[in-house]
């Protein structure tokens, strides 16, 4: 997960790229400006350039360079553009898949694709139908928790919740989940994997759903339930490159669970 520091670095990289296109280096203190101010205005940039105007390339005015820099640093980071290109064919039309056993596999495939996109760079090595050692069944989806920043990293490092892998169960049911489904995910959680996700179509009674999850906390098993709306929200946040929004989402869900 990218932090504020990563955002700052992205902007510095964009600044360097803009200056390179004019064949100049930062002799204006623009990197300091970007480091200290989250969203510098064109006036801020112009002020910086004017301090060392003699380094402007011939034929280029302060105004022109400032505009070009502002446009560049406001561009989405390269990582986001790459992500958008990679997943441009991926849509949120999974919401149209009818609920029910008949379409369970289709729903599961769509969720796998979406989670793969949402978790890119955070969780890795997604596997469908992973055999479960605890039970005879299969875990719908499993990701390795390779996060070294953000919520999934904090799970391991700060909350000391063993989460080498994240088991995920998908339920294509039209009704709210019952005890059986919560228990299924609970049974998938074991010594090294104490955090799992339950994905369903819709949660009508959020309080009841949360109560089910809270019931397993005393045994050191952490479960979060997400529905279609949550998946759409996460996908859209990732699309915009809003990493702090994604972190806030998980943070809020986790707080609701443990408090």
């Amino acid at each position: 997960m990218k932090s504020q520091e990563q955002k700052r670095r992205n902007k510095i990289e964009k600044l360097a790229e803009a200056l390179r296109s004019f064949k100049i280096v930062d002799r204006f203190g623009l990197s300091n400006l970007i480091s200290t101010k989250d969203s510098p205005t064109i006036i801020d940039i112009k002020k910086c350039i004017n301090k060392n105007k003699e380094y402007l390339p011939s034929g280029i005015s302060t105004d022109y360079l400032a505009k070009a820099i502002l446009v560049k640093i406001q561009e989405p980071p390269t990582g986001i553009s790459l992500w958008q290109n990679k997943y441009k064919g991926l849509h949120l039309n999974f919401k149209k898949i009818p609920a029910g056993k008949k379409y369970a596999s289709v729903y599961q495939d769509h969720i796998l694709e979406l989670l793969n996109a949402i978790f890119e760079g955070i969780l890795s090595n997604p596997k469908k139908e992973q055999p479960s050692e605890n039970t005879l069944g299969f875990i719908d989806i499993v990701f390795d928790n390779t996060a070294d920043e953000g919520f999934f990293s904090r799970l391991k490092k700060e909350h000391n919740i063993p989460s080498v892998a994240i088991p995920i169960e998908c339920k294509n049911y039209s009704d709210d989940l019952k005890n059986e489904e919560y228990h299924q995910l609970y049974s998938r959680l074991k010594k090294n994997c104490c955090f799992g996700l339950l994905i369903c179509r819709k949660i009508s009674n959020r309080k009841k759903s949360l109560a089910h999850c809270k019931g397993k906390l005393t045994e050191g098993k952490y479960m979060l339930v997400l529905d279609d709306e949550d998946i759409c929200l996460l996908f859209n946040l990732r699309k915009k490159g809003d990493y702090s929004g994604i972190d806030d989402f998980w943070g809020q869900k986790f707080r609701d669970l443990i408090l």
């Binding site: 670095r9 034929g59 280029i60 022109y64």
Partner: protein, 131 residues
Amino acid sequence: MAETEHSQINISYIRTHVDNIEQLSKFAISSNPTCKEFIKKHLEQRALSPEVYLSLADGPRTLDEIMKSIHSSKSKGTISLVCKHLFEQGLLTKVPDPENAKSFKYTWGELEVMLGVSKIANEISRTKKKK
């Protein structure tokens, strides 16, 4: 990106030396009379080169803006070839267009400051008009 004291020292060292090399190159170009002759030759080589060059006096321009500025009956393709010629000789450079991320504008290159290319272009243009 400079991360450690060591890498920062290295970057400072490289930067100082690049600055020195840049200064020496500028001096060598400015003091060499054949450079001006070379520029004159290239401005005369292709018709409209001085006019295209001078059209950028007020800042970077797109090909369309250059066309409007020089009021020539020549086609866009011809003006484009003139720009390409000047660009290849190092007289013009391309910079990003802040209004359009996919586009670029032509502007004067570093030689303008060192050799006063616009003065040479003006002289050629005036001589042509007299003729």
